[in-house]
Amino acid sequence: MTRSDEPLFEPRIADWLEDDPYTAPDQALDVVLAAFPSIKQRRAWRVPWRVPGMTTPLRLGLTAAAVGALAIGSLLFVNRGPSGPGGPGGPTSSATPGSAASPSPSPSSALLDTSSWPTYESARYGFSIGRPADWTERPAERDWTVATDAADWLSAAQENFIAAAADVRVSAWSVAVEPGTSTQAWIQSYCVAAAAPGQDCSGYQDGAVPVAIDGHPGVLITKSGFDHPVFVLNGDRMYVVIAWREESDSSVMPYGGARRLVESFLSTMVLGAPIAPSAQPS
């Protein structure tokens, strides 16, 4: 056999690949053409948070809801006793599935049974989170930034969790924010970065409901036709968890819908693990 250290080794790879087929079986196109019309197109979730136009009553309402969520979360935190997870700088440990209290003040319905969910520890982003036992994990390969990743739902900078059938993806990450940045302001900048041409950031508040992760208040978007993102600002970091499906998508029906799925993920989540120093404000 020819030695592979010859100078032409890499061209040999290209030559070898050239000999593979170039034409798809006719059946492949037939399947695609027959199937795609029945598939509902997913709307870009680029949801708007209309900060300038937000009405005072709405702002007050959301503030009150957030305070309520914080109070409930704090109460749950206290009830968990000294073994419970801490905040920034606190103990990080053991995200025992099921040990974290249900975070949402207004959960959509009973959450999924997470007692058998393995726990994934994200050293990069400082949290732990459970995922269904038959899902796979795709760890983030780099730090997430608004500029690079906001418009990319398949970003390799996200901690990704993928259903066994590869038809549902839940992603989570966190990013440092400039001191003094509000949740609303950050989401506004995120929305602008993620928006497709022609899309604006209006109407987002229509689908925002208060939730909490590990006792920290945030918002969940449940707007019809959109994916289900959750934003929680904790200290100087924004934590984001997204179920990349709309509520009625058939792929999330086994989980009782996208909201129930993402809320179940949230119920297993613990914040406060140390963050690698490489993450910069975004």
Partner: protein, 184 residues
């Protein structure tokens, strides 16, 4: 009609536009998937999944001019999913069933078997980088952009993959294939 117009129209729900896109891209999708997966049925599945995913998620594509790269990424991700489903990539000793198909001298056929075997030992992530670089001719920057990974990661994956291919070939690993497994 130019591709960019088709993409915009398809994103707006125009089924004829998407059918035209699918028809014009399916061979390229299949070729890419086949080279990564080394299996015609799984390549067909991955190709179909990628195109159906493209229809479903087309509205998330911000720049219609990036459709090709975006679609390639969907194909690669579908290949990853296919690979996870079977996990055959790291254990199968693939056998060429195309004896006589290559007009090359016998030694070249052996090389091809060796390459097939060595390639089958790479992870899907490493295979994808090799195929994008050596088949599609993508530079590292475009590979990184297509896969959503840092350029350094793309470079290291390519370097590792080529080194592994060389190592396996140099070690004559093809001898591990039993006579029964070899084509007549």
């Amino acid at each position: 009609m130019q591709q960019q117009d088709l993409v915009v129209r398809a994103a707006a729900g125009d089924r004829d536009a998407f059918a035209a896109l699918a028809t014009s891209h399916i061979d390229r999708c299949y070729a890419l998937a086949y080279r990564i997966l080394r299996d015609q049925h799984r390549a067909q599945d991955a190709c179909q999944q990628a195109l159906l995913g493209a229809w479903r998620d087309l509205r998330t594509l911000r720049d219609p001019e990036r459709f090709d790269a975006w679609l390639h990424r969907l194909v690669v991700n579908a290949c990853y999913a296919e690979s996870r489903g079977t996990q055959r990539w790291n254990s199968a000793l693939r056998v060429l069933t195309v004896a006589g198909a290559f007009p090359d001298p016998a030694s070249s056929v052996v090389d091809r078997e060796a390459l097939e075997d060595a390639f089958g030992r790479l992870s899907p992530e490493h295979r994808a980088v090799v195929v994008l670089h050596h088949h599609l001719g993508y530079p590292l920057t475009e590979i990184a952009e297509t896969l959503g990974i840092p350029v350094g990661t793309a470079r290291s994956r390519l370097h590792y993959a080529v080194r592994q291919l060389r190592a396996v070939l140099d070690a004559g690993v093809t001898s591990a294939a039993t006579p029964e497994e070899r084509p007549a």
